[in-house]
């Protein structure tokens, strides 16, 4: 089956800065595809090129087999929630949504109906007549999301749809996104690894403008598992050797004499067994951890790949 999105050797330079460097990527149809990366990795640049906001320096993006430079051929099939785009501040939200619907090809009456339906979908029918600048950040984000769901787009790009939102609004947006994946391809960028792991079935990690890892969520999360252990006293060499010898342990990395990371080769099914084996081994040497951080697989993999701390740190 033709991929929903095909990125071929995509490069984008801003003066001397290389935002994307030869990105190749294929996004399967009807997938919920997560795009991960630290700040400055190139996620928004990739989305912006896909939507036609920016011109690539080199390479191309095809959506549903059509080059994105011919946006008119994709009218109605491609939608996006841009990261920073603002609605016109003093104009009622419904009028702007009606204009978007009319550009999608609907007549006046159908456009109004579609706009009202879209606002209901995001739970904001009451803000229709309000000016955009009268809305809170969370409401504005939901309105921006609803314009992405106007019409019947087959491919939707969502650039950090939950950024800056409180947990309740973030949860609502995730629920909306999950509801619409049935016959659409949704590409979703986020800093929230847990969120991506919860809802996406495919993921791509971008760092410094390059694809570092891409694949199904299952293949990425089952490959490694990270456990970070902090001890009260230093880890003896015998205990270290015993841990290394465990079948579920792929590797051990001492970050200090009282702290170490264990890379495990365990899937979700036998994770508990692996942890039991580790605790048992440590107890055998009368070593009792001060804290154990069982890193979520995706986060562990992300940390491993990017070498950064997980706080949305910049891509350097």
């Amino acid at each position: 089956m033709q991929p929903a999105v095909k990125v071929t050797n995509l490069t984008k330079k801003f003066a001397r800065q290389v935002a994307l460097d030869g990105v190749d990527l294929e996004i399967p149809q009807n997938s919920l595809y997560g795009l991960l990366g630290p700040n400055g990795a190139g996620k928004t640049t990739l989305f912006s090129i896909a939507a036609g906001f920016l011109k690539p320096t080199e390479g191309a993006i095809e959506v549903l087999g059509v080059d994105v430079s011919r946006i008119s051929h994709l009218r109605g099939k491609l939608a996006m929630l841009p990261q920073d785009a603002a609605f016109q501040g003093s104009i009622p939200v419904i009028e702007q949504l009606i204009m978007f619907s009319r550009l999608n090809g609907l007549d006046k009456a159908a456009a109004r109906s579609a706009a009202e339906k879209a606002l209901e979908m995001v739970g904001l029918p009451e803000v229709a007549r309000k000016a955009a600048r009268a809305l809170s950040h969370g409401m504005m984000k939901r309105v921006a999301l609803c314009q992405a769901f106007l019409g019947d787009a087959k491919v939707i790009f969502l650039d950090e749809p939950t950024a800056g939102l409180d947990p309740d609004n973030a949860r609502r947006i995730r629920a909306l996104v999950k509801e619409f994946t049935r016959d659409k391809t949704i590409v979703f960028s986020s800093h929230n690894l847990q969120e991506v792991q919860d809802i996406c079935d495919h993921v791509c990690v971008i760092d410094k403008g390059r694809v570092v890892e891409a694949g199904t969520m299952e293949s990425l999360t089952q490959s490694t598992f990270l456990v970070r252990v902090e001890l009260v006293s230093a880890l003896s060499s015998e205990a270290q050797a015993a841990l290394q010898a465990l079948p579920v342990v792929e590797g051990i990395e001492l970050t200090s004499d009282k702290e170490f990371n264990l890379r495990l080769n365990a899937s979700g099914a036998n994770k508990d067994e692996a942890m039991k084996a580790i605790y048992g081994t440590l107890a055998g040497f009368e070593i009792y951890p001060r804290s154990v951080f069982e890193g979520a697989s995706l986060e562990a993999r992300f940390l491993e790949i990017t070498g950064g701390t997980f706080d949305g740190a910049s891509s350097t």
Partner: protein, 310 residues
């Protein structure tokens, strides 16, 4: 490697241009920017009109009830030889043209139009400077980019401002004509309104290339204020440069001033009085020149808009 460029002649849709133009006009009114422009245009038009009518009214008052009324006074003054010579000098034309303006047509209205046409390029900038720059800065254009070609956005915004300018020009001329007809009462209604219509078309055709120039500048800059400043600067600065050039050629190189009439024809402003000329051939040539400038500026603007990152 150079960024990929797109051809200037991209596919465009009349329907999309129309939708964007219509909403652009509507939103301009709602946001206050359009109302502000309308007020500015009206203020300028009425100020120019009052420049001529107010002194006449003062003179009538001074003359007393036995003296001439406003209509008689305006005809006496405006159709005098002194004013004819002044009109010839301002319009850089001959006595036939000044006769056409002052005797064949309502002189008071001609005088108002001559001054109004000087101000039109600058006034137009206040309505046309923010066709795309504000939305480029706020990235609001991105919602449109997802749904239509760049050419439709650029042309739609241009047409929206054009329509709004037409409304403003018609509104201003209506007020001036009513003011002249009922306040001065010097001219037959048919003559006044016919000449008023010709004046309206002259103002419109002179605005056209400046709206297109502003469309080009607006898509180059990301700040509305910067766009306004540059639009005004180019509209005015270009004239200053041309005046200096002409002066230099006359004083330093002893060039015959009459052979330098072409200098100001390199900008739309240089054709303003040809739009009121007595000869239809001259008027049509001036209109074609305005359309040529308009197409040229639109071409340059569209080419830039298609290439730039938004």
């Amino acid at each position: 490697m150079e960024p990929t460029t797109s051809t200037v002649a991209r596919s465009w849709s009349l329907q999309h241009v129309g939708i964007i133009a219509l909403y652009s006009m509507r939103f301009a009114l709602r946001s206050g920017g359009g109302l502000m422009f309308l007020l500015i245009f009206l203020t300028v038009g009425l100020s120019v009109a009052s420049l001529f009518i107010t002194p006449l009214e003062e003179l009538v008052k001074m003359d007393g009830p036995d003296g001439m009324n406003t209509a008689e006074l305006s005809m006496t003054i405006l159709e005098s030889d002194m004013v004819s010579q002044a009109v010839e000098w301002i319009t850089n034309s001959d006595s036939a043209q000044s006769e056409y303006l002052l005797k064949d047509n309502p002189a008071l209205l001609s005088a108002i139009l001559l001054i109004l046409l000087i101000a039109v390029p600058f006034t137009t900038c206040f309505g046309a400077f923010n066709q795309t720059s504000g939305d480029i800065a706020s990235r609001g254009l991105r919602y449109l980019l997802l749904r239509t070609e760049r050419a439709n956005i650029f042309l739609g915004r241009f047409v929206g401002v054009l329509l709004f300018t037409i409304v403003s020009v018609i509104g201003t001329m209506l007020v001036i004509l009513l003011y002249v007809q009922f306040k001065v009462g010097a001219y037959p209604g048919m003559d006044l309104w016919a000449w008023g219509f010709q004046g309206l078309t002259a103002v419109f055709f002179l605005s056209l290339p400046y709206i297109a120039l502003c469309a080009w500048i607006s898509c180059m800059l990301d700040t509305p204020f910067g766009s306004l400043a540059i639009c005004l600067l180019i509209s005015g600065f270009s004239l200053a440069i041309l005046y200096l050039l002409k002066l230099t050629l006359i004083t330093s190189m002893k060039v015959d001033p009459e052979s330098l009439d072409w200098v100001f024809k390199t900008v739309p402003w240089g054709w303003k009085y040809e739009l009121l000329h007595g000869s239809p051939v001259v008027r049509i040539t001036a209109i074609l020149a305005m359309l040529g400038f308009t197409v040229g500026f639109l071409f340059l603007g569209l080419r830039h808009f298609n290439k730039r990152d938004l």
